[in-house]
């Protein structure tokens, strides 16, 4: 049984979230650091370069790293204050076991005993119920080395098919669409390419708050003449001054793209030569779009017809362009179709694979790109190989030194894993870098599933909200306590450098995973001495795959300030060994060679052609209705990150935006009798939440917005719907029907919880 062992207030009192602040040497102006460590921010997919000031095995501050080319010293507030996650009072420095007799529900336990217990329970469950009785959940904030090791651990050590990761909530719609359209899943150009382009279309991305550094690139592009189009139900900070704002109704994005493409077809704003030479499938897409007349598109999407026509004209007649999208169009049960809709606009324009023209998805997590490439995804093996592909299986089995028949088949997505826990099929769980009790939709279901687990162990550096259910908690490493690589938003592989040692009994995550393998008596393949050794094996494992890292070395990354994959150890044309492949900053350039097309064209299919895919509009699941008439959408604020395990513990960030609010338009507020600051209850078919209202004109009047970083009674995911895209399995976080009323009384939590708790 994995119920929360004691009253949550007692767990919070001991394990937080409590707030860190600048004190002691961190506040002193006379203390000099011993050294500066060049590394990157631990938060979003931009992966800004930063230098950490280190003294006495403590990170005491930061210094901008102005030479790193992507951000040149720029940082968002999370990056500025990220160093305050270290030396934190909530930091786990020992292993813990659940102990309902303990005041806070958990007691310290020697690390070796904890590992022995984990191995014993896994062994017991697998002996009784088979290898698939144990599942693994990973995360896309882990280094690529760790994600690789975790995938290998699940398949080789545990022999379970059930591994998936929190990128399932983040990047999978974009990834699936990219694979379908291009045969490769990566942003096409470095960000510097967008300065000098004619038009930038940003679909469903609150750039200013979710990828702040990108803002300067966009503003700089505008200085040089670019028109900026932003599609969002909210007037986000970038939308305030963009050239054209498309106030799309939540969940209607595919319709908008089809309507715009229809205008481009009618006005013949198409690159016929590109479509004929480098693509296939245009006719079927054109046939589908025919039904999307301007009037119908405006009616369905809620975007005024003249704005749609203007967007089509700017996009259709541009000479160069970029299109970016993010979770706003991807977090839908129609997320892959939405993403394909944007790609159709790009392919119809022919503007891809050129210095000032490209397409990309703005990844959300630190390793949103690298974390989705090397095998912690349920259907995937390293190098973006497929676990169901016999040839791919044979290659990886060879690298791992096992018989291909021992390799499990495809597992299921992270949410489906919880359904399998609910059904009693998965009985044991290991999680790292994932806080599903906060981050998954309809999270009361997730809680019920956690309660059904026979054994659960969580690896983390703080006691995250999900880990309250754990039998054993293993103390892992902070970002600055380990080294490795991640791949950031542009597809640039960068190096994370270790600044300090793990405190107490905490240790690097990869060591913990290997310790479990050893304790299980299955150490073969899990005896790496350091992340570099893991990376060297990953290079071999990725070789020949689409995400080919074989030519990447730690030294090359440092020397070049990043390496864009694919980067080959053998010349893909001749097969001859080379050691100076610089990487591939720009994909799909005319005349470019790739090992899939073998000279037939720039895209990663045997015929070298990109695919148009019919991107069908489907209304959202649990759409607004008479009973639940208002659209609920969720997202981020700039000072918080994901489920807040780190950022809800950093004092200055919490003070910037302390608690979630329900954002609504004054016209809706007036109709409901709600004033700014009133306690307000939002209710969906899954649950209710009571928060203060924030009444602003910067949101569609038929829509409310709640940021999702908070836990328990403040968690927006009590309300969201577990509907998933049929292809990518991403949940539909960005829309569901809800109703809103003024609360009768303040919520119970208001009297007992601090804002971040």
């Amino acid at each position: 049984m994995a119920n929360v062992p004691v009253d949550p207030l007692r767990i919070i009192a001991r394990f937080g979230p409590h707030l860190s602040s600048m004190t002691g040497v961190r506040l002193s102006t006379s203390v000099e650091p011993e050294r500066l460590v060049k590394t990157h921010c631990c938060f979003c997919g931009q992966q800004c370069g930063i230098q950490l000031k280190v003294r006495d095995n403590e990170v005491i501050g930061f210094e901008p790293w102005e030479d790193f080319p992507f951000n040149r010293g720029m940082l968002c507030p999370k990056g500025v204050k990220r160093y305050l996650q270290g030396s934190h009072p909530d930091r786990l420095t020992t292993a813990l076991r659940r102990d309902s007799s303990a005041e806070a529900g958990f007691s310290p336990i020697p690390y070796d005993q904890a590992i022995a217990r984990v191995a014993g329970e896994i062994g017991r469950l697998q002996a009784a119920h088979g290898p698939g009785a144990v599942g693994v959940l990973g995360g896309a904030s882990l280094t690529t080395e760790k994600t690789y090791l975790l995938g290998k651990f699940a398949r080789v050590c545990l022999k379970t098919p059930f591994i998936d990761y929190n990128g399932r909530l983040c990047m999978v719609s974009a990834g699936a669409a990219n694979k379908k359209a291009f045969g490769i899943d990566r942003t096409t150009n470095p960000w510097s390419d967008m300065v000098g382009t004619d038009v930038i279309w940003i679909a469903g991305s609150n750039v200013a708050e979710c990828s702040p550094i990108t803002t300067n690139y966009i503003w700089q592009a505008r200085e040089l003449g670019a028109k900026i189009i932003i599609q969002d139900p909210r007037i986000t900070p970038a939308a305030r001054t963009c050239d054209l704002y498309l106030p799309v109704k939540p969940g209607r994005d595919a319709a908008l793209f089809a309507g715009v493409l229809q205008i481009m077809i009618e006005r013949d704003w198409l690159d016929h030569a590109f479509i004929a030479e480098h693509t296939s499938g245009f006719e079927q897409v054109a046939e589908y779009c025919r039904q999307w007349t301007l009037a119908r598109t405006a009616d369905v999407t809620g975007v005024p017809a003249r704005a749609i026509a203007q967007a089509a004209e700017w996009w259709g007649t541009a000479r160069t362009s970029f299109l970016f999208h993010a979770r706003g169009i991807e977090h839908h049960s129609n997320g892959v179709q939405n993403s394909l809709g944007t790609i159709n606009l790009v392919l119809a324009s022919g503007r891809i694979g050129k210095p000032k023209s490209g397409y990309g998805t703005i990844v959300g997590q630190a390793n949103g790109q690298g974390g989705r490439e090397h095998g912690q995804k349920c259907d995937q093996l390293p190098g973006w190989r497929e676990i169901a592909n016999p040839e791919h299986r044979r290659y990886i089995a060879g690298v791992w030194g096992i018989d291909e028949r021992e390799l499990p088949g495809p597992g299921v997505d992270a949410y489906e894993m919880f359904r399998k826990i609910d059904a009693g099929e998965i009985k044991g769980l290991i999680s790292i870098c994932f806080n599903p009790k906060v981050s998954l939709p309809d999270n009361s279901f997730v809680t019920r599933c956690l309660e059904k687990l026979e054994f659960y162990t969580a690896i983390d550096f703080f006691l995250n909200d999900t880990a309250w259910h754990a039998d054993i908690v293993l103390p892992g490493s902070l970002h600055e306590e380990d080294e490795g690589t991640v791949t950031q938003v542009e597809g640039r592989i960068i190096k994370i450098n270790k600044a300090v040692e793990c405190p107490g009994e905490a240790r690097e995550d990869w060591r913990i995973i290997q310790d479990i393998a050893k304790a299980l008596g299955r150490p073969a393949g899990f005896t790496f001495a350091d992340p570099r050794e893991i990376f060297e094996e990953l290079r071999v494992a990725s070789k020949g795959g689409v995400a080919d890292y074989s030519g990447v070395t730690y030294e090359k990354i440092t020397r070049q300030m990043g390496v864009f994959w694919p980067c080959y150890s053998d010349d893909p044309r001749t097969g001859a060994a080379i050691d100076d492949h610089p990487g591939t900053p720009r994909l799909f350039e005319p005349g470019s060679y790739n090992p899939v097309a073998r000279g037939n064209g720039p895209f990663y299919f045997p015929d070298g052609r990109a695919r148009f895919n019919v991107a069908e509009y489907r209304p959202p699941v649990d759409d607004a209705s008479d009973e639940y008439p208002i659209y609920l959408t969720t997202g981020r604020v700039v000072s918080q990150f994901l489920s807040g395990t780190q950022t809800r513990r950093i004092g200055p960030l919490v003070r910037q935006y302390a608690e979630p609010r329900i954002e609504m338009h004054p016209r809706l507020a007036a109709k409901l009798g709600i004033a700014d600051g009133d306690w307000t209850t939002a209710e969906t078919r899954r649950g209710t939440i009571t928060l203060r209202a924030q009444v602003v004109t910067t949101i569609r009047p038929d829509t409310i917005f709640i940021p999702y970083h908070w836990a328990g009674p403040k968690s927006a995911n009590q309300l969201t719907v577990a509907a998933q895209d049929p292809i990518s399995k991403i949940p539909q976080y960005k829309v569901c029907g809800c109703r809103v009323r003024k609360a009768e009384a303040p919520p119970d939590y208001a009297a007992v919880l601090e804002p971040q708790q």
Partner: protein
């Protein structure tokens, strides 16, 4: 050491996204660790997400210094107006009231006025101030006039401000749309004080989206 003459501070509120990176980074600066000297506020959050970052404008003839009865506020030769000097400041708050830009703040607990000193420990050795280094939108920019001219063809730097009868020139520049700067090379602050921000700053003739939600039914 002094701030090099050729380096200037430029503010472009049009670029500001309100992320508070400048505010957070300001607290990391060695001259005033733990305290931010930057004011970053919504103009009117109910109507707009517009925010305006305010650092010290470093006036050529600083009103704060002129009204200081203790002669505690000094402008160094490189044009940087420093925080109040501790031995002299009597914490009377005259400067707080008098500054036309609302910059100085009185720290009652320490009995001293503190304000933005352009990260003097950094700028005096040729480094950028913390805020302008980290600013993700580069609404705060530190560099040469040549750089800003080359990077920002749509706007122009203005450093003359009209407050009623008082004309103030500053070392810090505000970027304004180039057309406006060409017509009137100064900003009349008082006459602009009643203007309210709109949710959308850009209105296209073809779209008329000053209220993009006008057609949405509740």
């Amino acid at each position: 050491m002094a701030k090099p003459e050729y380096l200037h501070f430029f503010i472009d509120p049009n670029r500001c996204i309100g992320c508070q990176s400048c505010v957070q980074a300001c607290t990391e600066c060695d001259t005033h660790r733990g305290e931010s000297m930057i004011h970053l506020e919504y103009v009117n959050r109910q109507e707009s997400v517009q925010t305006v970052p305010v650092v010290c404008m470093h006036c050529d003839q600083p009103t704060c210094a002129e009204v200081c009865p203790a002669d505690a506020i000094k402008r160094t030769g490189d044009g940087v107006v420093q925080s109040a000097r501790k031995p002299r400041c009597i914490a009377c708050g005259n400067c707080v009231v008098a500054c036309p830009f609302g910059v100085p703040e009185l720290y009652e607990d320490r009995k001293i006025m503190m304000k933005c000193d352009m990260c003097y420990d950094r700028s005096s050795v040729g480094k950028k101030p913390m805020c302008a280094t980290v600013c993700p939108s580069q609404a705060l920019f530190f560099g040469t006039l040549e750089q800003i001219t080359q990077l920002r063809p749509l706007s122009a730097p203005v450093n003359t401000f009209q407050f009623g009868d008082q004309t103030i020139t500053t070392r810090v520049y505000v970027m304004v749309p180039r057309q406006i700067a060409t017509r009137a090379p100064l900003l009349d602050v008082v006459s602009a004080m009643d203007e309210q921000p709109r949710s959308r700053a850009v209105t296209l003739r073809v779209v008329a989206d000053s209220d993009p939600f006008a057609g949405v039914e509740v």
